[in-house]
């Protein structure tokens, strides 16, 4: 099982959890397992064609999978997978 770190903005889709343990030997399998368990995540993580959305970066042990093997990147037992969408703020003045 690998640990998927969930950013605050996606936590409502995973029952408020900060991290979720899922099985899977690759990033694709981990994302599949995650979106099967939490279907509302699918639209946010994946494009209609099943690729990773460009506004969500996925890191395995701190490395961006775009520069590894993308969805085919190997995920080992106890590896840390981190989902990280861009954040808007800055810290606007609340207009």
């Amino acid at each position: 099982m690998s640990v998927v770190k969930i950013p605050t903005v996606l936590r409502p889709q995973v029952g408020g959890n900060k991290e979720v343990e899922v099985a899977g030997g690759s990033v694709g399998e981990v994302v599949d397992a995650l979106t099967t368990q939490f279907p509302s995540l699918r639209a946010q993580l994946l494009t209609d064609e099943g690729g990773l959305n460009r506004f969500v970066n996925v890191y395995v042990n701190g490395q961006d999978v775009r520069y590894l093997d993308g969805l085919a990147t190997t995920v080992g037992d106890r590896d840390e997978v981190r989902l990280l969408p861009a954040m808007a703020g800055g810290d606007g003045s609340g207009r």
Binding site: M87, G90, D91, G92, S93, R95
Partner: protein, 404 residues
Amino acid sequence: MPKTYADLLREARSQIREVTPADVDALPAGGATVIDVREDSEWDQGHLPGAVHISKSYVEQQIEGAVPDRDAPVVLYCAGGVRSLFAAQTLEQLGYTNVASMSGGFQAWKSAGLPWDKPVNLTSEQKQRYSRHLLIPEVGAEGQAKLLASKALFIGAGGLGSPAALYLAAAGVGTIGIVDFDVVDLSNLQRQILHTNDRVGERKVESAKKTINALNPDVNVITHEEMLLADNVDRIITGYDVIIDGTDTFETRYLLNDAAVAKNIPVIHASVFRFEGQLTTFIPFEGPCYRCLYPTPPPPELAPGCSVAGVLGVVPGIMGMLQANEALKVLLGIGDTLAGRLLLFDALDSTFTELKLRRDPNCPVCSTEAVAARAEGRPLPIPVFAGTAAGTAASEPFVLGGQA
């Protein structure tokens, strides 16, 4: 029998190896630590490039800090080559094994037509104000002079910009520009510590200027009371050495990124969300740019701003201070910046996590191909992202809502 000055000098000459100014000039970079043992007032008139200043009366106390390795090569000089001989004897007594004195001193150096630096003369008030910086070898008077001559631009005088601007002002960054078109709102004061209760309704740039100048009148504050737009971004950022990004919209951030890469200006980026912060330093062509990190903006529901989602006040405070730290390193040219690294902060866990970032070889803004295309006056097309936070706004004629 008591010795005369002439006896002591003869002894010193026989004991200490002397080198000529030409020998010292021919040393490879880092070939020896060159130490100026004259008094402060003499040093202030000019010194050898790269020399360390330890006046003769402090040699015993300060040499171990300056040269910890007793076998490292050291060359001492003074004005005429006498005081440095006696100081070299002191170093030998302390166990330094490779000490030389430059014959003829600084006068002979100048007479030989060799280059020398005139140090920056800080005023006595500046020496006192920045004394804790002057004590740090990595900053010192030269670093302080660099800061005083530096120009930092803040995009937003908000939650991130407040602590960063205060600390850069305190540090003596000589010019601070602030882009903000908003007025102080009561809801800002939970975190935007540049502003005060009695300034609610006042223009933020003016409020920021008052606070900064109350802290340090050395700082020249330039106010840009306008939105950052496609048609003014080049004019606004030109001439600044570093930009502190506290924008709160993606369109402003991409706009700033693209302009800063084209002008080769580092951008210290941070963003915050409730208890979390992200921070990195974009140094054009050294590390990735914002488009390499996030090629497309998220849909609005995935990236609500602080005004919708809220933020713990200290989070922009902490991230803003880390931005100030990055900016100081960029300006001083010291340490390792976060270029190529994304630092995440989680205030609830009190944890920092570091992620590795890479340049996108196909980046439409900072790739080799993009740079070449810009140079030829035909910049690469940048995709417009329909249905996203930035795409929606970008379809309107550059009415950007962003500032911090």
